[in-house]
């Protein structure tokens, strides 16, 4: 097994305590930081995402792998900056105004990080204007909104309307998710995508960004 495969395995198994040493070992051995990221850490997260989507593993396994990835990244990130690594894309995400639930949203943030995105997490109770301002500021590709309550679902439409009003609708891919959300609802409010789980969200997000850049 190559060191990069070892890193991917280590992440899949959620071995939080071993990942730092392994990433360091790869760097010391002269591996390209980008390869450590893409073929090691992100490859591992991609396997985890697929298994999560197929319901072979569940939230705890994803959390522990995401935590392992963060530990690995803490060693790798300075090197990635040095070599000028570029993220796959940028996403601004948060839970919509009036809604304070964030477990699902946090999971989505982890999966996007695991797909190589730069993630700007605005937290909970975020209004449409704040989503847009942050997206404009960082040059986001995707805006992701979460809601757990049927009470707060209508707040998602406010952002879509605001984008229309400002003539910016085509600039961003709008993705939505959360327990009561459906495909129908996404169509009804004019969002681009609804995904039923965090792994699918990151997968679709990545596809969108790659297609856009072609």
């Amino acid at each position: 097994m190559t060191i990069l495969q070892e890193i991917s395995e280590c992440l899949q198994k959620g071995k939080v305590k071993q990942i730092k040493a392994l990433v360091q070992q790869a760097l010391d051995g002269g591996e390209d930081p980008k390869a450590i990221l893409n073929e090691g850490l992100l490859e591992g997260m991609s396997v985890i995402g697929g298994r999560f989507k197929r319901e072979e593993i569940f939230v705890p396994d994803v959390l522990i792998s995401a935590r392992t990835m963060s530990m690995g990244l803490s060693v790798l990130e300075p090197k990635l900056v040095e070599v000028g690594n570029k993220a796959v894309g940028k996403i601004v995400l948060g839970t919509v105004k009036g809604d304070l639930h964030d477990i699902g949203k946090n999971l989505v943030a982890m999966m996007f990080k695991g797909a190589g995105f730069e993630v700007y997490d605005l937290g909970v109770d975020v209004d449409a204007k704040t989503f847009l301002e942050k997206a404009e500021e960082v040059g986001a590709d995707i805006i992701g909104m979460s809601a757990l309550l049927s009470t707060t679902m209508p707040a998602m439409k406010e952002l879509v309307d605001l984008l229309e009003e400002k003539g910016l609708r085509d600039k961003y891919t709008v993705m939505i998710g959360g327990a009561p959300i459906t495909d129908e609802f996404a169509k009804e409010i004019g969002a681009d995508y609804y995904t039923p789980d965090a792994a699918s969200a990151a997968e679709i997000g990545k596809t969108c960004v790659l297609e856009k850049s072609v």
Binding site: V16, D61, G98, T151, P180
Partner: protein, 359 residues
């Protein structure tokens, strides 16, 4: 049948004479109820079959002692509950709060051991027996409501992410915390049972919208044995006690485990997550159900007629023997049209059985 006889017979699947109504209204809907119906106490107004008995009263439990556990201070106006969990408010979110976790940053079991858990062992139980007696005298069911029994209670203190990681890494922290919460919940549960409640409502969310929250293996290792221990002990005090159990979402693969743990009634069978007919066919000979009327779908979005039809359909599935305490699956939130609440009540009151006419 008296109300008590009707309720117990229905929950034991031995037939029933009338369909009781039950729901929990958010503060906004309570206000609507007062304004439109003059109903100060909506549980009494709609003739709900049960009343809650107050939990043990903690002595000298000043929750300010928990404030120092927050590295990032709690927001102004936040409440701290009896377990030390912080609840931050937002002007946009009505009755909802953002939860903060006092044990989130702990790194060792020793730190956890020093945490001032609520002292239920020396709490006051003197009010409980009197309340139970009073409730039963009114021909009502006495309910001990202690949902968020083990897993959720522990996660609220530790944060879900940390507790899951503790469970996976098996470093002793999850074991300590879950044991501690089980010990305290046991004290509360036994006190309710000794006071003579008819129903003990336990619960821990273990389902998400489409999948279970954790693997069966993890559930059976960490949560099931602790739940079973509590149920076994309270049933030694009163074998007739009905154990209601709540978990949101899709929990189908875990239902056999919940049955083995000893639950009698499963709540809420979210219609958006599980098909009640299938669940009833599969498990309806062993447990009963409470809920089934979707608060993500038919309650906020359906017409009054659709609400009624959902109620009748599910009662038809359960049939003459009962086994379904039909109710909205969750708290009725502000966006639910008031006429839909009234339609639910009317549907219960006018149900005349599968072959009977629906007025």
């Amino acid at each position: 049948m008296t109300n008590r006889e009707n309720f117990i017979s229905m929950m034991r699947r031995k037939g029933y004479e009338h369909v009781p109504v039950e729901f929990v209204l958010c503060p906004h809907q309570q206000k609507v109820c007062r304004e439109q119906l003059g109903a100060e106490d909506y549980e009494a107004y709609f003739g709900m079959p049960w009343r809650r008995v107050e939990d043990l009263r903690l002595k000298d439990h000043d929750v300010e002692k928990y404030r120092k556990y927050y590295q990032k201070p709690l927001a102004d106006g936040a409440d701290i509950d009896l377990w030390g969990v912080g609840h931050e408010k937002s002007p946009n979110s009505m009755h909802m709060t953002y939860m903060r976790h006092p044990m989130e940053h702990m790194m060792t079991v020793e730190e956890m051991k020093d945490y001032p858990f609520p002292d239920y062992a020396s709490a006051d139980d003197s009010h409980q027996a009197k309340q139970v007696e009073n409730i039963k005298e009114q021909d009502l069911i006495a309910l001990g409501d202690m949902q968020m029994t083990i897993w959720e209670c522990a996660w609220y203190m530790r944060s879900m992410e940390n507790l899951f990681c503790d469970m996976v890494t098996e470093d002793g922290m999850a074991e300590f915390l879950l044991d501690k919460v089980t010990e305290l919940s046991m004290i509360r549960a036994l006190s309710y049972a000794r006071a003579g409640v008819d129903v003990l409502f336990l619960g821990d969310d273990i389902g998400m919208q489409r999948t279970i929250m954790m693997s069966e293996e993890l559930y059976c290792t960490w949560i099931k044995p602790r739940l079973k221990k509590i149920i076994d002990e309270v049933k030694k005090v009163n074998p007739q006690l009905l154990i209601f159990y709540h978990s949101c979402g899709f929990v189908e693969p875990l239902i056999p485990h919940l049955i083995e743990a000893g639950i009698d009634v499963l709540n809420p069978i979210q219609s958006e997550c599980m098909d009640f007919e299938r669940i009833y066919k599969k498990y309806g000979d062993r447990i009963s159900f409470h809920g089934t009327i979707g608060t993500q779908t038919v309650m906020p979005k359906g017409t009054p007629q659709e609400v009624k039809e959902a109620v009748w359909r599910n009662l038809d599935i359960a049939g003459e023997q009962g086994g379904l305490f039909v109710a909205p699956t969750h708290m009725v939130e502000p966006e639910v049209p008031f006429e839909n609440i009234l339609a639910y009540v009317e549907a219960c009151r006018t149900y005349a059985g599968k072959t009977g006419c629906k007025k």
